[in-house]
Each structure stands twice: as structure tokens, then as C-alpha cells.
Subunit: 215 residues, 2 copies
Amino acid sequence: MHAYTASRISLSPHSAQPSLPAAFGSETQQPISFFPAGSEIYAQGERAGALYQVEFGAVRIYRLLADGRRQISAFHLAGETFGFEADATHHFFAEAINATGVRTFRLAAGADMSHQLLPLALKGLTRAQEHLLVLGRQNAIERVAAFLVDLGERQGGLRQVELPMSRMDIGDYLGLTIETVSRVFTRLKDKGVIRLLNLRSIEIVKQDVLQAMGE
Amino acid sequence: MHAYTASRISLSPHSAQPSLPAAFGSETQQPISFFPAGSEIYAQGERAGALYQVEFGAVRIYRLLADGRRQISAFHLAGETFGFEADATHHFFAEAINATGVRTFRLAAGADMSHQLLPLALKGLTRAQEHLLVLGRQNAIERVAAFLVDLGERQGGLRQVELPMSRMDIGDYLGLTIETVSRVFTRLKDKGVIRLLNLRSIEIVKQDVLQAMGE
DNA sequence: CGTGGTGTTGATTACTTTCAAGATGTGTGG
DNA sequence: CCACACATCTTGAAAGTAATCAACACCACG
């Protein structure tokens, strides 16, 4: 059993000046915060009350078991939003994977954001439920295939896919160990389905085959 | 690999007259429908547009892989609500596990239910993400323990817990085979943690031990 | 150009699945 | 109300997949 120990960097992010209101108009302000790689955005148990939109970089949302086992429930890439909770408390941890810029939308106490939040929550719910199918019923190679296809689609469907996260992050997202993730990458490479350009980027050579494996 | 083949009962439910408006007031009507055991409430790909509240009985929400592998993402017991989707299409199947009464809230096209739906969606999201931790990082005995604790809490925290669903349903919810579920039940019984009163009800003898195993 | 962290590969172990058989339970018809 | 029959559940043995343990390679950084 491998255990995850968070490197407690948690530098306080230095904020830049607020930017354009964008999609959300009625909140108090939308400053951009910069988080260095590995730094904490919020922790389980902390008081919630803001939305976060990734400007650049990547974020992992995760939960820990008492003995340190970690499950990443979601990665959020540029443009994606996270941070909403069912009650006033964060139920998960959020960390910057790499140097990351995050736009913070602090929710005004009285303001009603239901209209904006509901679609995001429902999208997240659907994604989480689909991920349940992967973790509950797919084997290692199917999990990695589904992951790469998903990541590729979210990056615009190009052949080349960037992996902003480590093998450990991938493992903790897919419910696998880093060794298994590594072995599956090698197997996919040997089959000619993908090419490993470098540690953090792969090229999907046989999109159809990869797609078929992940479903 | 075991595969799930749905028994295509799908009797059209015979509706009773609408009941009290309850929590939702602005919809067109709230008839109660009766679904016999195993019948379909809605299917993946169908047009969505209603909320469902379980009056009695139990419902399973699931998804299938192409080869028949099934993942149940949630069970819904009396009082619980399900059926909302991110877009106009159902992404999952919903079936009555036993004879089940469901109150249907057809969402009027123009009506805005954001306020009522958002808390439900967020609750569901949190539950799904917590279930990801179970499927991704816990072993068989931990999964079953977490399941029994959860079910016990949802049934009022009594020592005796009713299992409205079969071993296959439990397996497909926990990402295990029916044999493994059965073996874990036996192990928990042998350890004196639970008692198997009959196939569909167990007694939690050592609540603290069971709780500790599932987290 | 070292050095620590990250990733890969190999050997072994452990857990869950698969395959198989038998037991138990439930529902139906006599 | 009992007996049979089918479905569900349990238990056992063997096989398979991923985890663990261990060593080495690679890469990025100072």
C-alpha cells in the first residue's frame, strides 16, 4: 500500500489585480492568484465560499484516507471551474499541480448564483459518475486509455496530449500504482497506439484503437 | 468478467392521482408511479426533464460498458431524489430494485428550479466523489464496510440494516463480484462485526469496528 | 557535472476474479 | 400447506491482474 504525503509548501499566493468580469458578473471581485507547483489552494475542512477558475496550469482535487492513500477525483485544466461545495465546508483538497493561475470568484453572502452554478455542478456530477464506471469496472489498460482520450478531448482533440501531472497523480486518479501506470504506457507504446514524446507529453497514434480500449 | 443483462420487464407504470406539492411547488403535477421490481424508470439516451422522488422501495442508477459490465453509481431509498441531468438527455439508467413508488416532478419548460436543484446536485456530487475514493483506493472488506455504514446511516442509524438489493447489485455498486461480496459478508460475520439475519438484512454488532474498517 | 526526485523495469506476492459445485431461499402450482 | 423448481447465494480451487518490493535509468535542477 502506497501512501501520499503532501509536501506542505502552501505559500500564500500573491494576487494580481482583478480582471474582466467574464461569465460571473455579480460577485465582489475576481482577482487572479498564482500558486506555485504543489501548493495548496484549499484544504478539506476549510470554510468554502468561492469559485475558482483555472487561468493557466492545472489543479488536482483529492481526498485522503487516514493512512495516506489518496484518490484524486478530478483534474482541472485551463478554463475549468471548481470549488463549489454542498455546504459551507470544503470536503476535498485542491492543489496546484504546476505553476497555476486561478481566478477567484468570492461568492457574496446574499447573492444567488444558482443559475451559474447548477450547470457546473451537474456537469461535475456526470463526470464523477462516469469516472465511477472507470474505477469500478475497467482494468488498468482501459483506465489509462479512457484517461488519455478524455485528456486529449479536453485539450482540443489534437494528436499530441500534454500530461501536466506526474505518474503518481495519474495513478491516484485512476486507482492504480505508479508502476502499473508506467507499465501500461509502455504496453501502449509497444502496441504502437501511442508514442511517448517525453515524460509529460504523448502522441496518440491510433486514436480509434485507444478510444475503443477505453469504453 | 461477468456481464449484466437487464431483464426487460419495463411495464408501463400505472399512475395514481397527484399528491401534495411537498418541497416542489411550481411544477405541473406530481403523480405517483408504481414500478414493479426490475422495471425501468428511464434509460440512457432518453430525453430527460423530470425529477423523481422515491416514495417507497429502492432505485438503482447505473451505466453499462459495451460488453455488459455494469457500474451502479447510486442507490436511492425512500425520500431521496434523482433524475436531474446536465443536459436534456439521460446519461444513466434508472431501475426499480423492488416494487417502488416514485413521485414524478415534471419540470415545466420555462420554470426555474435552480434553487431546489442546486443543493441536490451538489449533494450528489459530493457523494459520487466520496464513492470514487472507495472504488479507487479501498479493498473489498473496506468497500463493504463503508457501504454498510452508509446504508445504516441512511436508514436512521439503527443496528439492523435492510439490504433492498441483491448481492449482484452490491457488487456492481462496489466494483466487486458477487462472490467477493459474499465472502466479505462471511468474513465480517466470522469476525463478529455483523450478523446475517437473513439474505436481505444484517445486524451491525460492532458499529465502531465496521466504521473504522470503512475509512 | 553531480544529486535528488521521478520514472521504468523485473521478480515476487497478494488479492480478487473466474470457474465450478453445492446450499439456501423464494415463489408457484398441485 | 407442502413440494418442486428456479433463482440467488455461498463456498472451494485455480487463475489472473495489479500491488509490492527492489534495482536501475533518466531527467531536471543547482
